[in-house]
Symmetry: C2
Subunit: 125 residues, 2 copies
DNA sequence: CTTGCAGCTGACACTGATGTCAGGTCCTAC
DNA sequence: GTAGGACCTGACATCAGTGTCAGCTGCAAG
């Protein structure tokens, strides 16, 4: 598959795909005149990359443990990094969960404050 | 409280606090010669702002529903925004949770691959 | 062979939150 | 009143990911 198709199926821009490769997150074969050729696994790989990016990991860090996915061995440093990032992720999830609850509360409040007259009507808003 | 103290208690930099104000996230009284004066509630406010920022909300969006917190009323647009962002947050939490699980798996794999010889020893690694 | 779309590289721009510096002002302690 | 630290504004820098443009090349269809 060429870069345009990969971009379309993953939702990443062509620009981003080249950037991921430049940062060592993604590999490609070059076919003949230098055009990138991707295996079908690349789709999943790109989705994973974007997931990590959305989670706040910089490409530099992602690049460090990406090798785990295809090489058979891992170094102590990689395992350490994975563990640290997993912790970070857990903390982030906890924080977002708390924030989500706070937003629920804010939404409740907001609805109460929407039409003050309704409060006397009853709870059937 | 002045800006230095607020910065110290919240962990935000003085620079960031001024930026939050500039973006409409934070208010301050100006005392005499133009120095910012914060009420004690500002501490909580700043923590909330930073929490939202960490969750990926841009200041522009935060600024839109910040008024809910102190004005007594909310507009339909604000409630809509809150709901949309809560959804976004929920989706983000789900995604991070999945990613976290995937990392757990990666860590397991990584440990297995660490010293291949150990695999024959048994599960007590 | 030509046409034209897709791809290539390289460079510059942008956004958003923050750092940092310069030059000036406030305010507290002496 | 003066020294010095905290604060002010404004500007420029940084980082990461991405957009975008220019100029060139690959490749498939006619």
């Amino acid at each position: 598959m060429r870069i345009g198709e990969l971009a379309e199926t993953t939702g990443a821009s062509v620009r981003s795909l080249r950037y991921y490769e430049q940062q060592g997150l993604l590999q490609s074969q070059r076919s003949g005149g230098g055009q990138r050729e991707y295996a079908t696994e690349a789709v999943e790989r790109v989705q994973l990359i974007r997931c990590y990016l959305r989670s706040g990991l910089p490409t530099r860090v992602i690049a460090e443990f990406m090798p785990c996915l295809h090489s058979g061995t891992t170094t102590a440093a990689q395992r350490e990094l994975l563990t640290v990032e997993r912790e970070r992720l857990a903390a982030q999830i906890a924080e977002l969960t708390e924030l989500s609850e706070r937003m629920d509360w804010m939404i409740d409040q907001a609805e109460l404050r929407a039409e003050p007259a309704r409060q006397a009507d009853g709870a059937a808003a």
